[in-house]
Assembly symmetry: C2
Homo-oligomer: 382 residues x 2
């Protein structure tokens, strides 16, 4: 008994403390994996903090529900969370003394969140971002991991893959990719890997992260395909051409030498793209968009139950790509993007799928014409 | 009028004569594309012969139905064929004076078919194979294109891609890959390419052809996934790991230097794999296999309406891969494969997905254990 107590004390003293920043659908699913591993692997402190933005659910605080019933009834109903996952309503409390941060909040909240955390993060801590999105910054394309890294001064890895949250939470076999380096990447792999959640490490984290953002554009095209009543051949062509544009885009926006082709063959690449083009919410809403002609805003409200369409990526990317066209249209938009587009290789002709999706979504182009844009795709070559 | 007649004569005299060897579902769909192009492109003679294995359909000869009603009512009902596609019941007649042969018959009929054609093929003719399959030969792995080339002494390209026949025949947008070289590859591209059927040329024809065969193994795994009630994450993982094994297999069986990674990103690679894992018949039968526990032979009869399960590839490949195990089992099987397996790098551990599919299909392993085999896949690396 004494030995056991000592062991527990030792583990508490030495194990890395984990803080999950976010508690939505994906955050809760990942909390289950991290909680299960932290409970048994002495590399980690047993209790895992999960920052929960407090809200009332049927008269009770969500943090109380999670801590008493061990279920996030609002965002991951029907799945039991390990009892060592502790919901904490204050971000600064949740982050206290943490060695490992898992960022899993919507893109639009990241700036505010890291601002709150600033000055409350232990030196030598490391983070991993599960957030899909990109920023436009003065110096070019901005990754979410860069935003976290710059704000908090810590190492930031990323986790991306074919990981629809509800399926992960129900222990359905899948794979995922940690993009990162050295011990931190290995530690995060150990934190997430389960018998049914197989993690590979890629030392190409920027590409891994961009894949997670860009796939959402392709998924809109896949949704159009479904909305137009087309079959698996067309869907496969859209996925393939989308993958080609993702590869080309990464090579243009990152420096070509740092982009590894193999990264697109990892779970974060082709596999996540497939999952998203068959099962994701961008696909679903885009299918309805093609069928009903309603606006995306309207469909988002009707169909996503409070979740957001992952459209910010689409807008941002498409703006970059259609820059040359927009210059003609008006100087405001042009100015906004001027800092970014020093690279003249970007043109709508180079990214016909991305561009066409954008035009259908935001410029009133008819969805029926979407495939016309792919007929003479540069990927068809000779 | 005179000018038009002369022009027609000129075209008849100069255009390449096309013969389609086969008239099943895919053969009829490709006849539509080739017929439409031959009708307008002076590179080809207008009339396209299609060898049709004669059979009676509701009291009429199938060739007569095709030539009078311009529809293959048995294998591609509901789709009009161009009037310049001419059904010919005798293979030797169909092949007479042809410059271009399109082979699109089931794998098991190829030996007999080329034997019949031998001595009736024009010098300088070229062929393209649309057949999915592989052979075991004394000297190792045998491609169908090699079998045609050796029997007839002509150049043989291949056409593979995400091309479910019924969707192609209904003009749904898709892509395809010609594997071949020089003028012949370009000629076949011109023969098949349509506004909704976009053809790329790959100068890596052996890999293109192997992709078309190997995808059928992965599709069985995808069917198991569906039969087990698992979702898009798992399906995407199976597709990705299958693609990794396809790449590795090609590099082992062809010489590594001649296999281009880019080939797996073409329509014949990742796109065909996706299509087949969502829509193909191997997937469908394997789903039922997982759900019902009936034998594959039984399900083939029940579900495929006379079509064959593309299982020969699976059996052949799996035999190669499980060689080391089979050596222990009995000398007969070992001897049969001895010529092939000079390459000792082949082991079940290297191809866990292929091997596990085979064990489930033909050795009574429970389908529920299929995913267990993927947990420690070599593609997961570190």
């Amino acid at each position: 008994m004494l030995a056991l107590t000592s062991l527990r004390y030792f583990r508490t003293a030495m194990g890395k403390r984990v803080c999950i920043v976010g508690s939505g659908n994906w955050g809760s699913a990942i909390a289950k994996l991290a909680g299960l591993n932290a409970a048994t692997n002495p590399l980690f402190e047993k209790n895992v903090n999960m920052w929960v933005y407090e809200e009332m659910v049927e008269g009770r605080k969500l943090t109380e529900i999670i801590n008493q019933d061990h279920e996030n009834v609002k965002y991951l109903p029907g799945v039991k969370l390990p009892e060592n996952v502790i919901a904490v309503p204050e971000l600064v409390d949740a982050a206290k003394d943490a060695d490992l941060f898992i960022f899993v909040i919507p893109h639009q909240f990241i700036a505010r969140t890291v601002a709150t955390m600033k000055g409350h993060v232990k030196e030598g801590a490391a983070a991993i971002s599960l957030i899909k999105g990109i920023n436009i910054t003065d110096s070019g394309l901005g990754l979410i991991s860069d935003e976290i890294r710059e704000a908090l001064g810590i190492d930031v890895s990323v986790l991306m893959g074919a990981n629809i949250a509800n399926e992960v939470a129900r222990d359905q076999f899948c794979e995922s990719t940690v993009g990162g380096f050295g011990e931190n990447a290995k530690t995060f792999k150990a934190l997430f890997q389960r018998p049914t959640f197989r993690v590979s490490i890629s030392e190409d984290p920027k590409t891994v992260e961009l894949c997670g953002a860009l796939k959402n554009i392709v998924a809109c095209g896949a949704g159009f395909c479904d909305g137009l009543g087309l079959g698996d051949n067309t869907k496969a062509a859209i996925i393939r051409l989308g993958l080609m544009e993702m590869m080309d885009f990464c090579k243009v926006f990152l420096s070509e030498g740092e982009v590894k082709n193999q990264t697109f063959m990892e779970s974060c690449g082709v596999a996540d793209l497939i999952t998203t083009c068959y099962g994701g919410r961008n696909r679903k809403v885009s299918e309805a968009f093609a069928k009903t002609g309603k606006s995306l805003d309207e469909l988002e409200k009707e169909m996503l139950n409070g979740q957001k369409l992952q459209g910010c990526v689409l807008k941002t990317l498409a703006q970059l790509i259609t820059f040359s066209k927009r210059v003609e249209k008006g100087p405001e938009t042009a100015r906004e993007l001027q800092g970014v587009l020093t690279n003249k290789k970007i043109s709508p002709e180079r990214f016909p799928l991305f561009t066409s999706v954008f035009k259908c979504c935001y410029e009133g182009a008819p969805v029926a014409d979407f495939l016309k844009a792919l007929e003479n795709h540069p990927a068809h070559g000779n």
